[in-house]
């Protein structure tokens, strides 16, 4: 039960983060090249991703031995989770610029605006392709998370529903507020998802290898708490590095 709730939360949050990034590109494409092509591109990408989940996920669950599946998928989750966590630590400690959806939006709009005549037919190929590519590439990460978490816990349907719910919620909210996507606390969400994916990854690698975690599924909560502490300590330590460096350069400037 505990792992099911955490699984739903992890898939929903990961999908929401990726959806914000995809939506920025779709909105930029829609406002510059026309909404019809942008929405069609996004819809086709979502349909292709859904087919991939069905085509790869179902055989994965039924044909591959569960322990081997858990080790491979746990490793994949660790690669994703540790990468997200690393980026969130660097951003929170000031070593990396925050992901700014306004900058992404402005860049995409500028590229599309200079890419051709704005007097376009009802269907715009460039708008379609940009929206498709944005949704497909961001969505691939969601697909991997859905397949990984869903198949290792034998809850592929539930994981897919959680991802679909995130797409609907963020998509609906995004279309209402259109250009206010920069208000979404993306780094905090990325940090939370990174911690959850890392915790699930470590748990499944252990389970698949034959390691029995104390408390069974409850160990996931302990792992989440552990990685929260690790992230907090790492952020504090790396902030101190920046502060110390700033102090040294101030003294040197005098």
């Amino acid at each position: 039960m505990t792992s099911t709730i955490v699984l739903v939360l992890a898939v929903f949050a990961a999908s929401a983060v990726e959806m914000v990034e995809a939506l920025t590109i779709v909105v930029a494409s829609g406002t510059t090249r026309g909404w019809r092509s942008a929405l069609e591109g996004a819809a086709v990408a979502v349909a292709v991703l859904a087919v991939i989940v069905g085509a790869v996920g179902v055989p994965l669950v039924h044909l591959v031995p569960i322990d081997a599946l858990r080790v491979v998928i746990g490793a994949l989750l660790l690669v994703l989770g540790l990468g997200w966590l690393r980026k969130a630590i660097l951003r929170s400690s000031g070593h990396k610029a925050m992901h700014d959806e306004d900058v992404v939006y402005a860049k995409t709009v500028a590229e599309l605006a200079t890419a051709g005549d704005r007097a376009r037919p009802r269907r715009d190929a460039l708008g379609f392709v940009v929206a498709f590519k944005g949704v497909f590439l961001e969505g691939m990460e969601v697909v991997l998370i859905v397949l990984s978490l869903g198949s290792s816990a034998h809850r592929l349907g539930l994981a897919a529903v959680a991802a679909a719910a995130a797409v609907l919620v963020v998509g609906g909210a995004g279309l209402l507020v259109t250009r206010q996507l920069s208000e979404v606390p993306e780094n905090t969400m990325k940090m939370a998802v990174g911690i959850m994916l890392t915790s699930f990854g470590a748990f499944w690698v252990g389970e698949g290898s034959g390691v029995h975690w104390p408390g069974s599924d409850l160990a996931i909560l302990a792992l989440i708490a552990f990685f929260c502490v690790v992230a907090a300590v790492a952020i504090a330590a790396m902030r101190r590095v920046l502060t110390a460096r700033a102090g040294v350069s101030t003294v040197a400037d005098r």
Partner: protein
């Protein structure tokens, strides 16, 4: 190179970027974590402590490596 070759190259490059990208140390770290879990599966207490500790060590080391240097 034919269409199949180009497709295979693009497919391989996608996965390389996705899994390794600019943080090869994290990918190597995950392989170490998996190896640790497999080797120590009968040493329950050691594995349960070591697997999360290794994950923590690799992410902190990778973040430190990626810190701003200017």
């Amino acid at each position: 190179m034919g269409a199949v070759g180009r497709w295979a190259t693009a497919f391989g490059r996608f996965w390389w970027d996705f899994l390794v990208g600019d943080t090869p140390e994290l990918f190597a770290g995950v392989l170490v974590v998996v190896a640790t879990a497999l080797v120590l599966r009968h040493e329950r207490v050691v594995a349960v402590v070591l697997v999360p500790l290794e994950c923590a060590a690799f992410v902190v080391a990778s973040a430190y490596r990626g810190r701003r240097r200017d």
